[in-house]
């Protein structure tokens, strides 16, 4: 059942990503410090070399989602706020099966598309109401809704929760 569900989400994900190729809309150019750079199979870009870059302001202008959860690296329940990875990829008309995420310290991990299609995975910029600095594993941290989904309280999903994220490559 779970496998079937995951498969269907996966197929639906590809389908929706393919659909979004047909239309194109402009992404406004970045003004402040770049906090995120998205490359790879994306249709919407704002740089000459075909990448999409974001400062905090652009990201915070996108619809925000809040997640309250525990994590193995924090004490107690923490309130995170950020953009749904799903929304972001839709915005960029991304096509592919996974995201190669890279952190400031060059730590990398692959995030399958079905992860954020099935769960509300966010690119968090706020923790307990405050913007996150590098010292707080900011400025961006991929957060899964663990407390609401015991099924993803495993090492595999924990390992995909990359912090100090600054690059995404859609594959």
């Amino acid at each position: 059942m779970t496998i079937y569900k995951q498969c269907s989400y996966f197929i639906a994900g590809i389908f929706s990503l393919l659909l979004s190729v047909s239309t194109s809309s402009a992404l406004e150019p970045v003004k402040g410090d770049v906090v995120l750079q998205v490359s790879g199979n994306i249709a919407v870009t704002n740089t000459d070399d075909g990448k999409a870059v974001f400062d905090r302001a652009i990201l915070m202008s996108l619809p925000a989602t809040k997640i309250e959860t525990e994590t193995p690296w924090t004490d107690g329940v923490v309130k995170f706020e950020g953009v749904l990875l799903r929304d972001l990829m839709e915005l960029l008309k991304a096509t592919g099966q996974s995201l190669k995420a890279t952190a400031i310290n060059d730590y990398t991990v692959d995030i399958p598309v079905e992860d954020f299609l099935k769960y509300d995975v966010i690119l968090a910029y706020k923790m307990n109401g405050n913007l996150m600095s590098v010292r707080d594993k900011g400025p961006l941290w991929v957060i899964y809704p663990w407390s609401d989904n015991p099924a993803i309280q495993t090492e595999i999903f924990h390992s995909r929760s990359i912090w100090q994220l600054n690059k995404i490559s859609v594959k």
């Binding site: 994590t71 193995p72 690296w73 924090t74 004490d75 310290n105 590098v134 707080d136 090492e155 100090q164």
Partner: protein, 629 residues
């Protein structure tokens, strides 16, 4: 049933197999999973430690690179590296991961030192100038000092992981060892249990079956035995009841017979004297004597009936065709039963002749008919069935006093009210009646009973309340033809004698005198004797004796017939008339000595003058025709 059990065991075995297999599979799965999870957890702890180590080295490297003129590292990058160290410190202290890290040996000290270093170098890092090589060198040194202890922690994490995994491995080995022993054991046990159950069930089944059969058998045996016992008890009870009944009847009969006998003698005297008186008194006084004679006649009638019941009435058995006898009284029956009751007579073909007193049989049938009418006030049917009946020895025991042999059965049945059990018990007793006072004598059935018994037959009663009553009379079959000497008697006059000489032998003086007077009045010459000696003297003398009139019971213990048989040589006449108030007594004594001759005439006391006269006449008239053995 058996097939189903076989299937059941097959299923049980398969279940044991599959359960064992899945248990094995589950355990190995769980073991594998735990091993994997554990190793992942260890890796993460090692990872966390080494990642911090890596970031520390990166920062030290960045510091060293920063002072170079052609360095690719910007100030911002350096600060970021510094900030990353801060985040590493948080990772090493916060959450589950931090907690696990703090458990490692020397980790708290390291974290403390790490924190102090970060705080103390913060200002220097943030205000760092590329050319300030001295500060850079100092900072690098400060952070290099952290490396050995962090390295030790990393090694400790690795060692811990190794130790843990070794311990886990050992435990798993033990589990595996036990699993290898236990699982086959479970399998074998399951198999054995199934096999044992199979065998147990089988033997239990056969045992149960055997037991059930035996129980059934013994139950049947017991039931049979019980039934036999019950039957025997019933039989015994019936017999006892019959015996009691018959003893009671016997006793009542003896009592009745005794009274009747003595009373009869009294009656004989009264009657005889009254009759004599009748010839002597004046015409106008005869009317005073008539009632006396009438009363004695009635009294005689009563004693007759009582004697009938007590089986002591004089009987003259003869060969009878019961069917012709019953048919001859059909008119009489019809008249006494009335219009509402129909009479049906059935008889078997070739019916045997019965040996009984015809008049008494008629009397009995009429008595039964009267009872039947009483039982059927609203009409019904009276059936008279006549059939041959062979009473076997085995059947004979059911009828008290009954003797096996051939009988003619006369069955008189009505469709009346029937009798209650109580009534049935007393039905044959004298003076017992269900009729209203004054309507019945209560002697009807008693007379029939006595008559049948005296005739050597049996009587039985069957009745059901609301259905009717049957009286079964078994009369002995006549094997020889017996002609009744009385059947020719029909004269209505009192025959007179012609002066013939009659020897009277009677011990009772009154009776002797009476007999003498009667005989004299009948124109006979009387020679009275009151004992055998006197009689013998007379007989021995040359006096001509035409007839002997003798009592059956004589003083001196010898019976009349015995006495005359013994002295037949000196008796000139062969004509003897016996008289008795107690005929069975006579029969008993005479039969004993075999001295009874059927041609000897028997008179019952009290005899009427006419009866005596008739008997005398017949005897004398028979003359030489009568021959004796």
């Amino acid at each position: 049933m058996f097939r189903n059990i076989r299937y059941l065991y097959a299923v049980l075995i398969i279940a044991t197999f599959s359960m064992t297999a899945s248990a094995y599979w589950l355990i190995s799965g769980v073991v594998q999973e735990s091993t994997k999870l554990e190793s992942v957890a260890r890796d993460i702890l090692i990872g966390v430690a080494s990642q911090t180590s890596y970031e520390l080295h990166q920062f030290i490297y960045s510091l060293n690179q920063y002072k170079l003129s052609n360095s690719s590292i910007s100030k911002q990058q350096l600060i970021t590296r510094y900030d990353i160290l801060w985040s590493r410190r948080k990772t090493n202290t916060l959450g589950k991961v931090g907690a696990a890290f703090k458990q490692l040996p020397k980790a708290p000290e390291f974290l403390n030192q790490f924190h102090i270093t970060l705080i103390e170098t913060e200002e220097a890092v943030l205000s760092l100038k590329r050319k300030d090589t001295n500060t850079l060198a100092q900072l690098a040194k400060r952070y290099r000092d952290l490396v050995p202890s962090l390295h030790q922690i990393t090694i400790a994490a690795a060692r811990k992981a190794t130790i843990d995994s070794t311990r886990l491995h050992t435990e798993l080995k033990i589990v595996g060892y036990w699993a290898r022993i236990l699982l086959p054991s479970i399998l074998v046990t399951g198999f054995l249990v199934a096999a044992i159950l199979w065998r147990e069930r089988k033997s239990l089944n056969s045992l149960t079956q055997h037991l059930e059969e035996r129980i059934l058998e013994s139950t049947l045996d017991l039931r049979k035995t019980n039934q036999i016992l019950k039957d025997e008890i019933q039989e015994r009870e019936k017999l006892e009841a019959k015996l009691v009944q018959s003893q009671k009847m016997e006793m009542v009969g003896q009592l009745t017979g005794g009274i009747a006998h003595d009373f009869n003698n009294l009656l004989a005297i009264i009657q005889g004297n009254a009759e004599l008186l009748e010839t002597l008194v004046k015409e106008e006084n005869v009317r005073l004597i008539k009632p006396i004679i009438k009363a004695t006649a009635r009294g005689s009638d009563l004693t007759q009936r009582l004697l009938a019941f007590s089986r002591k009435q004089p009987l003259r058995p003869e060969s009878l065709n019961l069917l012709s006898l019953v048919e001859s009284i059909t008119d009489l029956l019809d008249r006494s039963l009335g219009e509402t009751i129909s009479v049906k007579i059935n008889a078997e073909e070739n019916i045997w002749t019965a040996l009984a007193d015809a008049a008494q049989v008629e009397n009995a049938v009429l008595n039964l008919a009267v009872n039947a009418r009483h039982a059927m006030p609203n009409g019904g049917q009276l059936s008279i069935d006549i059939s041959n009946f062979i009473l076997e020895e085995t059947d004979a025991i059911h009828l008290t006093d009954a003797v096996a042999g051939d009988y003619v059965l006369l069955c008189v049945s009505d469709t009346g009210t029937g009798m209650s059990k109580d009534t049935m018990e007393h039905a044959f007793e004298p003076f017992f009646t269900t009729k209203d006072v004054g309507k019945g004598s209560g002697l009807g059935l008693s007379m029939v009973y006595g008559f049948v018994k005296q005739s050597g037959g049996h009587i039985d009663l069957y009745s059901e309340e609301g259905l009717g009553t049957s009286i079964m009379i078994y009369l002995p079959r006549a094997l020889e033809s017996h002609e009744s000497p009385l059947s020719h008697l029909s004269s209505s006059d009192i025959p007179q004698g012609n002066g013939e000489t009659i020897l009277v032998l009677e011990d009772d003086k009154d009776v002797l005198i009476l007999a003498g007077k009667i005989l004299t009045s009948l124109n006979y010459n009387v020679v009275p004797t009151n004992d055998t000696e006197t009689a013998l003297q007379v007989l021995k003398s040359n006096q001509k004796i035409d007839l002997i009139l003798s009592d059956v019971v004589l003083p001196g213990g010898m019976s009349g017939p015995e006495f005359f048989k013994e002295n037949k040589d000196i008796i000139s006449t062969q004509k003897i008339i016996y008289m008795s108030g107690y005929p069975t007594e006579a029969a008993a004594t005479t039969q004993k000595s075999n001295s009874w001759d059927p041609n000897d005439i028997l008179l019952t006391k009290p005899f009427q003058r006419r009866e005596l006269a008739l008997q005398l006449k017949i005897a004398l008239m028979a003359d030489t025709q009568v021959t004796k053995v």
